[in-house]
Symmetry: C2
Subunit: 204 residues, 2 copies
Amino acid sequence: MNDGPTILGVVPRSSKDDTAGDSEHVDGRRARGEKRRAEIIEATLAVVTRDGAAGVTHRTVARQAGTTTSLSTYYFATLDDLLVAALTTVADAYTARIRDIIDKPGDKLSGLAHLIAESAGSGRERALAERELATLAARRPALRPVARRWRQNIAELATTLTDDPAAIAALVAASDGLCTAILLDNVPADPDHIQAVLQRAVRN
Amino acid sequence: MNDGPTILGVVPRSSKDDTAGDSEHVDGRRARGEKRRAEIIEATLAVVTRDGAAGVTHRTVARQAGTTTSLSTYYFATLDDLLVAALTTVADAYTARIRDIIDKPGDKLSGLAHLIAESAGSGRERALAERELATLAARRPALRPVARRWRQNIAELATTLTDDPAAIAALVAASDGLCTAILLDNVPADPDHIQAVLQRAVRN
DNA sequence: CATCATGTTGAACGTTCGTACAAGTTGTAC
DNA sequence: GTACAACTTGTACGAACGTTCAACATGATG
């Protein structure tokens, strides 16, 4: 549908992947373009954080990014493209955080509990933005696989603790429900309390 | 807040509840008015179901209800009023369902599991609408107390099963997370599996 | 140098939005 | 019947929206 040339020019990775030679004449124009693209995504997240997903328009995003409306549509022909890119970015960040917990030594449930507890403090607005985008995913199929990643990451963490499928499902559900409680009930998130609830899900 | 005269005239229930005498000169105008108001709320839910909360405007709701835009603004001066009324309606329905489970004999966890499992089938779109409104509540304080009711209802159900606060919190979180899994992952919801996960939360 | 691809801008089109308001209709009260 | 309250409609305004397009700027290519 939106396979216009202006969009193709925005995804240069496909034209760079064709050869293994990496530093082979990096196009300065595309380098700037990718930087701009990242700025626009960051601006989108800022808008979602401030005004919610409903506040995301080409105009508001462009204003936040300090560019023009036309440039936003140049990189993201439709608003869906923009939301997919934004959701992918936050999902990537969360994936990295959880992978950190999985890889590093230490109590993984404790690490997860502290990660969830962040949703009450500094990470609250970012968590709200992610949740809003995830809810949007239920209605827009393009967003669904990205939104599913968060749950899969926690499931992967769970597999390091137990083999029981019911326990894995319980931990994923508990993590999600705890985030809801923190974001909606605005409860002060005590990491110990969170960990206790998580422990209930995975214990034998 | 929005206690304009046009709104006050729309909530005659307070003036009818004052006396047990029911047929005491029922104002035919207000009777029609309440009917209209209910139709508009129902239309709002239909719009949320079809197009999401973002699709709710005075115009789309009025079109869905078969009336004019002016009438929608007459009953609900702002969109927030409309969304609060819609969320209240679905929350009332859910409250009644859960209270049924609490009051009637039988395994309460099984009843809750079947209620959650409905989100995968016939009740999916309604559940999605409710979830979208609840997400909206995180950003609009006016919606928050209504959105909180659902969790409180499940907590009340949990108190009939255990006294452990952690177990109660776990059951609430598990219920919410299971709904997310069903709605977002589009997993076929097996009531037995759901009940098993719920059981994990409340067992000693 | 000339030529082209990429990025960037400003302006404009038609549509929908929230909101307001005057006018009309229907039911109630005296 | 007259006066009033509640409900209902049609119309209109300014603002914001998605989208398009021609023009300009800049880096790459030969």
